[in-house]
Amino acid sequence: MDDRRLEITMGNLLRIGVLVAAGLVTIGALIYLAQHFNDHTSFRSFTEESADLRTVGGIVKLAARMDSRGLIQLGLLLLIATPVARVVFAVVGFALERDKLYVLVSCIVLAVLIVSLLHAT
């Protein structure tokens, strides 16, 4: 597979990822609105949300129970994963081209992303 076809496949995969994420967020949104549409809300001051919504494990657990906020957050996690997938794909692409320098460069970027995401586990 040449460079361009690899990139086009990647672009399409990313778009599917975004659509699935948007779908999950929409399902969560409908459940959330159905349950809470008439509640009063304010986001004027910042308060820490529950720990479960701030970690990957907690989000998966809530989403599995069809909790509306858990489902939305799971969709957002999937969305955050799309650029990470893009970098993984680049590592593979450069490896297929035997381009050692850029395999290294992409691996550094991937390592930085993983360090950041480890914050949320």
């Binding site: 990139e7 086009i8 990647m10 672009g11 399409n12 990313l14 778009r15 975004v18 994420a21 948007a22 967020v25 929409t26 969560g28 949104a29 959330y32 609105l33 809470h36 549409f37 008439n38 509640d39 809300t41 304010s42 986001f43 004027r44 001051s45 910042f46 820490e48 949300e49 919504l53 701030r54 970690t55 509306s68 906020r69 939305i72 957050q73 957002l76 996690l77 969305l79 955050i80 994963a81 799309t82 650029p83 990470v84 893009r86 970098v87 680049a90 692409g93 320098l101 850029y102 460069v105 992409s106 550094i108 970027v109 930085v112 992303l113 360090v115 950041s116 995401l117 914050h119 949320a120």
Partner: protein, 278 residues
Amino acid sequence: MTVLIFTVAVWAISLIAGFLGSLTGLGGGVVVVPALTLMLGVDIKYAIGASLVSVIATSSGAAAAYVREGFSNVRIGMFLEVATTIGAIAGAWLAAFTSTHVIAIIFGLVLIQSAWQSLFGAHHAGPPTQSDALGARLRLGGDYPDKGKLCHYGVRNVPAGFSLMFGAGVLSGLLGIGSGAVKVIAMDRAMRIPFKVSTTTSNFMIGVTAAASAGVYLSRGYIDPRVAMPVMLGVLAGAFLGSRVLVHAPVRTLRLVFGIVVFAMAVEMILNGLAGKV
């Protein structure tokens, strides 16, 4: 305010922001944050968390379209992402220790710069055809389609571009925006990369940069599903609409209107920050 009204209002604001952001190339994030904080009184931490998510959505969603055009340069993007991702983590870390007033003021200054660039930004006419020594060693040069044939371009001033990219990353992590305007300056002005290549490669980099601060934001609770949900869905729908009408839209007029609106919001953000209201 009831949940239903809040959600619909945020969605509508985000739809307009995404629409105008995609037409003008400024991105939706720079408008969503001031609109939420100034119009709906949302705490800036929730606003930047939601904005960051929408930045990733538009970047990944538009990737396929950009690749098909054949302009983006994966080597340049990946190499500069080393700087933007490390900068983004530093920026996200800084956000926790920076008062919201200061964040609002910095945000206002960045908005003014973006508006200025959108209104008056001129770019280099002729990119160099030869890379300098470092650009050549990193094999950053490439080809782009112009009037049916491939043109070769070289890349220069890599250290300057790399440093600017670190700054773009810090701003992205601190403010929850794509900071596409700074990225384009680094590539177009400093590294002399052709404008079309700069803007499309910038789109590719924005998502990866934002993902680097997303983990930090998530663990701190900046990404609240109740705020991020209407922002993500609104910006995504707006950006999609924007890409559909781009061909027929009076882009020049829109740029002018958008630039003025962004400038007005910037001034209000700075004043509110100084008065300690945001």
